[in-house]
């Protein structure tokens, strides 16, 4: 949008504000009302009040859908759209197109976008502009995904909640926070509850930080998929089917994700029965998994608290049809193996106490199931003489390890930690 057109957009908004102000709500003198708690009786959804730092201000009204859509259209580059306290009830996906936009509410318990009545759109919010910041609001009950940021640079979610109030419902949407094919993702102090796939899902992206966030009662708490250079730290994931997933999946534009640094997370009690759709890869994850690395490379997992996950603490597996979990991927460019992963210095408490039958099958009915499972699969045609592709496990002696030899490349199921006694280079923390 040109600068000129943007000014028109602003003036049009103000005309609408002014028209609203001509009504009977006592604001007809047009004076700016400095107290945001008053003067909210108009039905336009926007208000003459412009709180400090806001270019557009929207309050709940009789037609939240139109008010929010207009605000998003009027939001020019580098503008700040402020949402008041209250519950908004949009009925369609809302798309944010401009660059540099800040969308902010006044708190995750105060500003709520409730999409229960949404009739169209696969997401609640769809972000398409670069350098967008979202903060201090909550998205509730979208039929599809919560907030998708699609092919953007530098998206920041800070103090944003995505909540499905009906826990574990088959009607819940798949992803809560959903940046995909993004360069530069920060998710900080966020919370996602109830997602029917991954609560915090970062896909096909690079330069990612997910920190100080909470994901519970989702199928997967946090998933980093086909992504490179991610930091996942100081998060708490609990009551999910699986706490944290680091995946590489076939058939995607962006392949060969690597270097996810997972540290200082509290990954506990992820024992909820899987309520994902049966056709999804996440749908095959058994309940009780703390962390799962699937076909991903150079993941470092360290200094996490991993406790009370009933099937396994950490598992490293290939996307291999040998393991009976996967069909042969129809993607010649896809590498099925998990390589160069380094699991060390984590604290494990009471994992594997009641393993899912699938995990029992893979572990030869070990009881309790191990803290750390490696499926033992590796690419036989690859040169690993220098050990650069090896998966390494450096945990305390008390940590129960198993090489499950699912691909039949080893000597059968083994708990010999010397099979994985190596190190890989630590990943950066910035």
């Amino acid at each position: 949008m040109t600068h000129h057109a943007k000014l028109h957009a602003v003036s049009l908004t103000l005309v609408m504000l002014a028209l609203a102000a001509c009504g009977t709500d006592g604001n007809a003198d047009g004076t700016a009302d400095s107290d945001p708690d008053t003067g909210s009786a108009d039905t336009s959804g926007t208000s003459g009040d412009l709180p400090e730092g806001c270019d557009i201000y929207v309050e709940p009204s009789a037609d939240d859908q139109t008010a929010l859509a207009e605000a998003f259209v009027d939001a020019g580059d580098d503008s700040t759209v402020c949402l008041s306290a209250g519950t908004f009830s949009p009925t369609r996906q809302l798309t944010l197109e401009s660059n540099g936009v800040t969308l902010r509410g006044v708190g995750t318990d105060m500003t709520i976008l409730d999409f229960t009545g949404q009739i169209t759109g696969g997401n609640g919010l769809l972000v398409k502009g670069n350098d967008v910041t979202m903060s201090d609001f909550a998205v509730h009950n979208t039929p599809g995904d919560g907030i998708r940021a699609d092919q953007v640079n530098n998206v920041l979610f800070e103090r944003v909640h995505v909540i499905w109030e009906a826990l574990h419902s088959l009607d819940n949407g798949a992803y809560g926070l959903y940046p995909v094919q993004a360069m530069g993702v920060t998710i900080r102090d966020c919370r996602v509850v109830g997602a029917r796939d991954a609560g915090i899902y970062v896909g096909q992206s690079t330069n990612i930080v997910v920190e100080d966030s909470i994901a519970h009662d989702n199928v997967a708490g946090i998933e980093i998929e086909n992504s490179t250079d991610a930091i996942v730290r100081r998060n708490e994931t609990f009551n999910n089917t699986a706490g944290i997933l680091v995946f590489n999946l076939p058939g995607l534009d962006v392949k060969d994700g690597r270097r996810t640094n997972v540290y200082e997370n509290d990954i506990h009690d992820n024992n909820v029965d899987n309520f994902a759709d049966a056709g999804t890869v996440v749908g095959i994850v058994p309940p009780g998994v703390g962390m799962l690395i699937l076909a991903a490379d150079a993941t470092e997992v360290h200094d996490n608290q991993i406790s009370n996950n009933r099937s396994v603490g950490v598992a490293i597996i290939a996307y291999s049809s040998e393991s009976m979990l996967f069909e042969e991927p129809n993607d010649p460019a896809y590498d099925i193996y998990s390589e160069t992963n380094f699991i060390h210095d984590n604290t494990y408490t009471n994992n594997g106490a009641d393993p899912d039958p699938l995990v029992q099958l893979l572990t030869g009915m070990a009881m309790p199931a191990p803290d750390v499972i490696f499926d033992g699969c590796f690419g036989e045609d690859k040169d690993n003489t220098d050990g650069a592709l090896s998966n390494c496990v450096g945990e305390a002696d008390t940590v129960r390890f198993m090489d499950a030899d699912l691909c039949g490349q080893g000597m059968g199921i083994s708990t010999d930690t010397t099979l994985v006694a190596c190190t890989q280079d630590p990943l950066p923390v910035e």
């Binding site: 040109t2 259209v73 798309t95 197109e97 534009d253």
Partner: protein
């Protein structure tokens, strides 16, 4: 943005908005985008008759996008002396100042062959210096004028169905930002219909020209370099015609899905490309495992299971009206039963080996 400006503008806006019936319009009508459709001058005479003014060229596409039973009138206006850069694969290039005009209307009596259509909205794509910009005009009930809206609208369409019964249908006019959900790829807005495959058909009856559109446009000198004869160029067949099933299905998928399902567009991250010229069966869905379909998979394992539409995600999503599941992800509310049937037949007839 200048923080002081809003107060000044607010005062001005209040003066305008509260000044009574004689207040001047809040927007300079001498400068687009006009607030009312008639100011553009696209149509001569009665606006609802949609009689193209000089220089406004009606056209049609071979494989149109389903839009909840809406019929569409399509028109193009090139700037004075402006010409189209032709390629036989999309996109064509259009000069700044080109405007595409699409009017959406409903047959309000589906029990008879002829009646007065109810026009609901007119959408514009205008090639401005910054790229294609979208504007949407909502028609009044009297069918005399359409007014620009930005935030979308819900319109109840009353109609008589095939059996003569009275029915009502909710139709959603999109908000302006939704235009980019389909029209933008790699952050650049595009026109979608005007490509060789889609326009390589006979011109619509409302024009005063007969014959193939590309040949006619070439005769009119609308291209910078005249393409070869249309008969030598690629074309989509009518999806409901009697051409080869594969060609009809691929044209339908292109027209209804490829705006998103292509690299760089909204559905690109899924890895599923439904461009008509995508040659890799795995890329157009054959035995392709979905990446992030969520509930959209419906328990099915692959986008297309050759020979078995019941096991294929693509027709399942085409038939759904659940916002989480339905495809395409547009503000349409009704499934295109014809399209879903066509794609199911296409999958059923596939001879690729099974996925297992």
């Amino acid at each position: 943005m200048n923080r002081r400006a809003p107060l000044v503008l607010l005062a001005l806006a209040l003066a305008l908005a509260c000044g009574g019936d004689d207040a001047p319009p809040p927007y300079d009508p001498g400068e687009p985008p006009y607030e009312i459709l008639s100011d553009w001058g696209f149509f001569a005479g009665d606006l609802a008759a949609q009689e193209p003014a000089d220089g406004v060229i009606p056209y049609r596409v071979a494989a149109p996008l389903w839009a909840d039973f809406a019929g569409k009138g399509r028109y193009m206006r090139l700037p004075e002396g402006g010409k189209i850069g032709f390629t036989d694969q999309d996109p064509w290039s259009f000069p700044a100042g080109t405007i595409f005009i699409k009017t959406f209307f409903f047959d309000t009596d589906r029990s008879t062959a002829d009646d007065e259509p109810q026009i609901v909205e007119t959408r514009l794509l205008v090639a401005e210096a910054t790229g294609w910009e979208s504007y949407i005009y909502l028609w009044d009930a009297e069918q005399t004028e359409a007014t620009r809206i930005k935030g979308g609208a819900n319109v109840d369409i009353a109609y008589t169905d095939e059996s003569g019964a009275s029915q009502t249908q909710l139709y959603l006019v999109p908000d302006q930002n939704t235009c980019g959900d389909c029209h933008a790829r790699d952050d650049v807005a595009q026109v979608l219909g005007p490509i060789t495959h889609q326009l390589n058909v006979d011109a619509p009856p409302e024009g005063e020209m007969e014959g193939n559109q590309i040949d006619l446009w070439a005769e009119l000198g609308l291209f910078t370099t005249a393409p070869g004869p249309a008969a030598s160029l690629p074309a989509f067949p009518a999806p409901d015609g009697d051409a080869d099933l594969d060609a009809r299905a691929r044209g339908y998928l292109h027209g209804n899905c490829s705006h998103c399902h292509r690299p760089g567009a909204g559905g690109g991250p899924s890895g599923l490309s439904l461009l008509a010229w995508e040659e890799d069966p795995a890329a157009f869905g054959v035995c392709k495992v979905p990446a992030a379909a969520g509930g959209g998979a419906g328990g099915r394992q692959v986008d297309i299971y050759p020979g078995d539409p019941e096991r294929s995600i693509v027709p399942f999503r085409m038939m759904s009206t659940d916002p989480e599941i339905k495809m395409p992800e547009l503000p349409s509310l009704l499934a295109d039963d014809f399209g879903a049937q066509l794609i199911s037949e296409w999958i059923a007839a596939m001879s690729y080996p099974p996925c297992d």
